[in-house]
Symmetry: C3
Subunit: 238 residues, 3 copies
């Protein structure tokens, strides 16, 4: 299969390195671009349109077809925008513990109030947010040892917040007939379970989807990339 992997907030294409290696070793093709606004492409003013356009451009310029488009976390919203632009090039869209945004909503619509306050308080004057290590280690890397958490944290960079507050036109997404999957790693504890859930909270907004569940947390690309690759195969196969 041919994967295009869209990373989440605070990350860049490098987060997928071990997952790409595992997928490639299993005979698949995988592309993992850095989104504009992240990593080397830092830009606090980046928009969702620019972000999605970069993935569309990758797919079109390389003439990729039969793509399994994977969105992780924030990348789920990007995957929705990309899917409605190039549906004919997609075999399936896979959401891995990812946002699924309603038409007319924003990414921040779904951040629990108890966390939104903390995010606002931590935001830099330039409109970016740096994740505190303690939060990252306990909530995103809860399934990893400390050394892995530290290594993964070293690869993060400030996330531009503006695009997550943009109202998204997703009418096209909700009329797509592209098959979709929700890959749910059920140890994820990024947000309080009493206020938020990836599955069934986010997943149930999809028109239809195949559910695949696996153990693990929000950053399996670091804590267990082989398990993530296996999950992506089960989520992405016909």
């Amino acid at each position: 299969m041919r994967y295009v992997l869209i990373h989440g907030s605070w990350q860049d294409g490098r987060c997928w390195d071990a997952t790409v290696a595992a997928l490639t070793a299993a005979g698949h093709e995988a592309h993992a671009p850095t989104l504009p606004g992240n990593g080397d492409l830092a830009n606090p003013a980046v928009t969702m349109a620019e972000t999605a356009a970069a993935v569309v451009d990758l797919i079109v310029s390389k003439d990729l077809t039969e793509v399994v488009l994977v969105g992780h976390s924030f990348g789920g919203a990007v995957a929705q925008l990309v899917a409605q632009q190039v549906p004919d090039r997609l075999a399936r869209v896979v959401f891995y513990n990812a946002y699924v945004i309603a038409d007319g909503a924003t990414v921040f619509t779904y951040v629990p109030e108890s966390v939104a306050g903390a995010f606002t308080a931590l935001a830099s004057p330039d409109g970016t947010l740096t994740l505190p290590y303690a939060y990252f280690r306990e909530h995103l890397m809860n399934d990893a040892d400390a050394a892995t958490a530290e290594w993964a944290y070293a690869l993060t960079s400030p996330e531009p917040l503006g695009r997550s507050a943009e109202v998204l036109d997703l009418a096209g997404f909700y009329s797509l007939t592209v098959p979709m999957s929700y890959l749910y790693a059920y140890d994820d504890n990024v947000f309080p379970a009493s206020e938020f859930s990836w599955h069934p909270g986010m997943s149930q907004r999809l028109p239809d989807f195949r559910l695949v569940t696996i153990p693990g947390g929000h950053e399996l690309m670091f804590s267990d990339p082989a398990a993530l690759a296996a999950g992506l195969e089960r989520a992405g196969r016909p």
Copy 2:
């Protein structure tokens, strides 16, 4: 142990073949009748009374005792009716991702509205429902590869709908003292998780039960019969 396995909608006794083989290899005895109305016994007008009677007759005619009675999906309702007729012959009733019907309710009472509409639209004039492959593959076989899904689909046949709309007298079931178990395969995504759950939705109507959870979906008899047999052993043991 001695198992009597009651299949679900669209299926017949053959669905259990690999599970029976696994149970037999582990030293157990297993019976897997085709219910009247299904498979070779197709009959759109079949009633719940006739359906349950066939299982009771099997148990009585073979003089089976200490039976672990297993109901899967729709077969849960049948198991309830059978249990209240021959409780003294049962060691335990096991529900595997199965309906548990309240006294005076119907099977369709518990089908989420969002799915009931689709079922009605798809029903044949003769009162049967043929499951579309896409739904079967994504929702019932989400834990299987495509080849397994296609093989399992080839074994399905139209389900007579009338009996699932029958009001069931289950007062006797709710005064039984037979031990019960709920075997919950937690990757099951037959119905939207936001509207329906096997556990704790269905399970909590049982007077009391042992919970056993396993990975996998609605059709472990096809996707992983060895795991299902192991689950049935844990659910069925004293």
Copy 3:
């Protein structure tokens, strides 16, 4: 790491024997005292203050520091009381399918009404409760075979009820900055899932926590102590 393990109701320090062995074999240190009121220290009139004091005394008298304090079930409430008395000696508090009591509440605040009635009916005149085997086997040992359930049951003793009705002053606990984890064994079916949950029900009262989930039920110290020890390592590590 250095563990102090606080057992739950009906049990005593012996319940941890195999877990202590597994932790010790992995290079850790583990202490598993019998709480006053339980086992050899039977005392129907024991108070929560006396119960917590015994653990505090153990920690102080042995001059233990960098302690991973583990509370199981009822032991969660004890761990909260201990933590607010000796926070500087703790590296982390771990709750394994354990109560987390709100400031000013009691343990019994969180027992579902459907179970509280049965508990009251079963209570002895001396103010203790002996757990019926059938309940223990089906609800606490649902993941074990019958022989293991019988062996574990033989190690139980009557639980003094009075302390579980005591209003607890836990204001100090809720201002602690000690890291905390919730180790959730997700096959636990002690109480009806429709009325009660360890996670996210209990866990969400913690100021913050690392979530670690593992298969298994309420008594992994008996049904799978090696898995419990591994879970405690993941929950307890920095």
